[in-house]
Chain length 195, copies 2
């Protein structure tokens, strides 16, 4: 959030008009984190980031408990984000590419693909948020569409045209930064929840 | 799974009759992991364990990528398990106590309580699986009941009688080990899912 210090000392947090919030060098992850905070604050949805999985090799025991002295980052076995919207399970990963023409499928690890498949098969809402940084375009692509593409194409990357045709553009705004829940709501035609 | 080596060399994995699988010194976590594997294999539900959150102090960069050289375990900010059953969001933690009379509330960290509250408020299914190891009893206690207890009692622990009255006993069986989805299904009267 951009906070403007007002001469009176009051911090003005309202959205200034006619300012583009796109492409400010802010990472996609940061945009998503801000959006998720907004969803929690406004009691819209509860989506959170999972811890990074690591493999521990060596732990020592000190006075303040165990301390990890050697470990490495494991390949992601699931996605970065999950949570819920009106009782429905939501799961996604955020990916950035500098390519102007296509998204390399190798950016999605095979474990992540099986994870998204499991979510989809159990009635959950699974997708990717993909940003083409050079084009300043962000899309929500449903997992089903990714599987369809992979199953019917031999290409090692998903062309931008496929995103333009099948994915859902997400506008970068002031607040919420990336309103992906709006798209989910539209796609699922107002989710029947317990709320 | 208990594998009996048959004289013929065939590994017999069928359930032997009249054997109690309870209280074999197997941890609650192990029982839950076995159950979750069963749910995935049988395409019933997809519930998985989250990575352990750590705080990294020092990372070095070697030929095989970054390596963590100093880190410690952070207090759990969420729960250990989450996933979905017929599209519905499910979230829980597993707790063991050696007490024969009550479950100490301090075993649930404050972050975990707010996490469960967020799940509950967003229409998800939030609960604890609590095992009284000395009694060999395992219960599923809905988060709503935990909040109710905490809000209307000053006691620092939840007595066993509260579990007997409000919680749902989970039998330890051969396969699935702890069929907690059966309880969820009963409580929610057959979930309307996309399956």
């Amino acid at each position: 959030m951009i906070k403007l210090k007002h001469p009176s000392g009051v911090i003005q947090t309202d959205s200034p008009k006619n300012i583009s919030y796109a492409n400010r060098g802010v990472s996609l992850e940061e945009d998503i984190n801000l959006t998720n905070t907004y969803y929690v604050d406004e009691k819209i949805a509860y989506i959170y980031k999972k811890p990074t999985p690591i493999q521990i090799n060596k732990t020592i025991y000190g006075v303040d408990g165990p301390r990890i002295k050697d470990a490495f980052f494991k390949e992601a076995s699931t996605t970065d984000y999950n949570g819920l919207y009106r009782g429905k399970y939501i799961d996604f990963d955020a990916k950035e590419t500098s390519s102007k023409t296509s998204f390399p499928i190798k950016n999605i690890h095979s474990h992540q693909l099986s994870h998204l498949k499991n979510i989809d098969e159990n009635g959950g809402i699974a997708f990717l948020i993909v940003r083409f940084t050079a084009l300043d375009k962000t899309y929500l692509l449903m997992a089903k569409d990714i599987f369809n593409y992979i199953n019917s194409n031999t290409s090692k990357s998903i062309p931008l045209s496929f995103f333009e045709e099948r994915a859902h553009p997400i506008e970068t705004k002031y607040r919420p930064r990336l309103d992906y829940i709006k798209i989910i709501d539209k796609l699922y035609g107002g989710i029947n929840g317990t709320k």
